[in-house]
């Protein structure tokens, strides 16, 4: 497997695809820093606790924040690294040659997936390090140990999220014979989850628990509850919630209904959650993401392993 891993890694690093993706991510990082520098003074007050994290989450008037960029780009990177895992090998006539070498069949898919994962992890860690480093230099506030921990967990969650998209793309690459089909299928699914899922969740919630012209708190809680639950079908939402809780500790809860409630009660909790509580809060989201990634990879693994090599 090591040979496959090394070759795939070398291929990725030398490919144009990698260069393009890296530029994209680099651009996102620069934009995020730019946004942060522009508006960080207006959001930070002398009582603000997590100044360093603020740099990551601040969004400008026209430009979105760093987590938003990341949540937009990570699926694209995952798909780009995974969509041709198997089918291109097959189409190019390499697969049967590769499988006739004395290696286990799963070394091929494992090696390729791990190489993609390694490339993506490098990208994610690099971009976070760039933002952190530049930010440190510009705003001059060093991160506290808690902030550092939160950023590390943020990186891990982001890698898991990317791994999910890569596994999904790899899954399609095992099932579809053409690389273009598997890429389109992955992108279609991403668009569905990213753009449409929340709309659909909203629509269903409005049918199930309609909001009148002046909705009561109870109605709103029901409506938002349904919307939140349905929204969590989408891995995009899961990731969004996890990063929000990690990077904005002031947010006490991910429960949409509870958040609505807190706007009704004047005494909204502003005490930031301690690190371990934030972790607890995002635990279900992270576990779901890991599970989704594992399922996708598992299915493609089984399909690839049991598939007959046929002469066509």
């Amino acid at each position: 497997m090591y040979a496959v891993f090394r070759k795939e890694l070398a291929d990725h690093l030398a490919s144009r695809r990698f260069a393009i993706l890296f530029m994209l991510v680099f651009l996102a990082a620069i934009l995020a820093i730019y946004v942060a520098i522009q508006s960080i003074r207006s959001v930070v007050t002398p009582t603000t606790e997590f100044v360093f994290l603020k740099m990551f989450t601040t969004s400008g008037e026209t430009l979105p924040s760093f987590p938003f960029f990341i949540s937009l780009f990570i699926p694209i990177i995952g798909i780009a690294l995974g969509f041709d895992t198997i089918n291109t090998e097959r189409a190019s006539g390499n697969l049967s040659r590769l499988l006739s070498q004395p290696i286990y069949r799963d070394s091929v898919i494992n090696g390729k997936f791990l190489a993609g994962l390694a490339v993506m992890s490098t990208m994610i860690v690099t971009v976070i390090a760039i933002v952190a480093g530049l930010g440190l230099r510009i705003i001059g506030v060093p991160p506290s140990s808690e902030e550092t921990l939160r950023l590390i967990v943020f990186a891990i969650v982001t890698i898991v999220y990317g791994a999910f998209w890569m596994a999904l793309a790899a899954l399609f690459s095992v099932f579809f014979n053409r690389a273009a089909t598997s890429m389109l299928a992955s992108i279609a699914l991403w668009i569905f989850f990213f753009f449409f899922m929340s709309m659909i969740a909203g629509a269903i919630a409005n049918v199930q628990a309609p909001l009148g012209s002046s909705p009561t708190a109870e109605e709103m809680i029901r409506n938002y509850g349904i919307q939140g639950t349905l929204g969590r079908i989408s891995p995009c939402t899961l990731y969004g919630e996890a990063t929000t809780a990690l990077l904005t500790p002031e947010l006490g809860s991910l429960n949409a209904a509870l958040m609505v409630l807190s706007t009704f009660t004047s005494g909204r909790m502003v005490t930031p959650l301690p690190f371990n509580q934030s972790l607890l809060l995002i635990w279900p989201q992270v576990v779901s993401l890991v599970a989704l990634a594992a399922i996708c990879f598992g299915v493609s693994y089984v399909k690839f392993m049991t598939e007959e090599i046929r002469s066509i």
Partner: protein, 310 residues
């Protein structure tokens, strides 16, 4: 008698009700160049895939160099080279890099690999383009690279699946030469091809597969003899009247193996071109010789005969 390299016992493969290979019994000995022939879809590639352990047989067993490919695929793959039909390489890597990757997958010691790659590329005539990307290669160059690729691991047995398809005549000659040179180095070669003329030149034995059955198996001489009635040549002599006396007198000609009357013609089988002697025998027995045709058996004839029968 060499050592048996490949032996199958009622090897059968069924895909969703369709039997691709049906009760195949094959025995190939060390050092042979075995021509594995048959129309497209006859089950040649399926057989090879089963022998490599890439596809599981539905029933029956196979042994490759004493290993069962289904149970011990890695042991088999270590000693068997497979050149698939329409072989592909990583297009953005150079020829040398592609071969290096194969060597790595085979866990070959690094010190020896570079020299071996250089030697092999020279053997297949690709030294000059060794560091060019494979995407610039022609079909024939890729096939030659494929032949280098399977030799990296120094196989005991090589499966070549249609290595000459879609290549110009000169390219075919080069590939045939490489196959012969490979066989000289004690590699048993199993060679699928539709270039019957080339197969006839180099193969020591052929097997013809049709609809999953092995319909013919043996040396070309033996199979050819069957199509021509025993000998290397078949002479068709048209006479005014094919009398039994004439048949006997032709049979007496030295070297004639069999005579078979068919209408006004006599089908004579022999190992040498005996047209003169036969003409004399016909004239001597006071018959009129109208015409004479001679035919040497060819693999094409053998092939057509057996694949039609199936």
């Amino acid at each position: 008698m060499g050592q048996v390299v490949v032996e199958t016992n009622n090897l059968t493969k069924t895909y969703d009700g369709f039997t691709a290979v049906d009760g195949l019994n094959l025995r190939i000995e060390e050092g042979e160049i075995f021509g594995f022939l048959g129309p497209n879809g006859a089950g040649k590639t399926t057989t090879i895939l089963m022998l490599l352990g890439l596809t599981e047989p539905s029933s029956g067993t196979a042994q490759v160099c004493g290993h069962n490919p289904t149970r011990e695929p890695l042991k088999v793959k270590r000693i068997v080279g497979y050149l698939p039909e329409r072989v592909g390489f990583y297009e953005d890597l150079t020829a040398r890099q592609n071969l290096r990757y194969t060597a790595e997958l085979n866990n070959l010691p690094k010190e020896e690999v570079e020299q071996k790659i250089t030697d092999l590329l020279a053997t297949v005539g690709l030294s000059e383009v060794a560091d060019q990307q494979v995407s610039t290669f022609s079909r024939g160059m890729k096939q030659r690279l494929g032949i280098a690729d399977i030799q990296i691991k120094e196989p005991k047995l090589a499966f070549l699946d249609e290595p000459t398809t879609g290549i110009d005549p000169e390219g075919i000659d080069e590939i045939i030469k490489l196959i012969v040179s490979m066989a000289k180095r004690k590699v048993t070669v199993i060679f699928c091809s539709h270039q019957l003329h080339q197969v006839q030149k180099i193969c020591t034995r052929v097997g013809i597969l049709a609809k999953g059955h092995l319909v013919a198996d043996g040396s070309i001489d033996r199979l050819g003899g069957k199509t021509t009635g025993g000998g290397r040549y078949r002479i068709e002599a048209e006479v005014a009247q094919a009398s039994p006396e004439l048949v006997t007198s032709i049979q007496r000609v030295n070297g004639v193996l069999a005579v078979e009357p068919s209408g006004n013609s006599l089908l004579i089988s022999c190992d040498k071109d005996l047209r003169g002697q036969i003409a004399k025998a016909i004239v001597d027995s006071d018959s009129l010789l109208v015409g004479m045709k001679i035919e040497e058996y060819s693999l094409e004839r053998i092939y057509k005969k057996y694949s039609r029968e199936a």
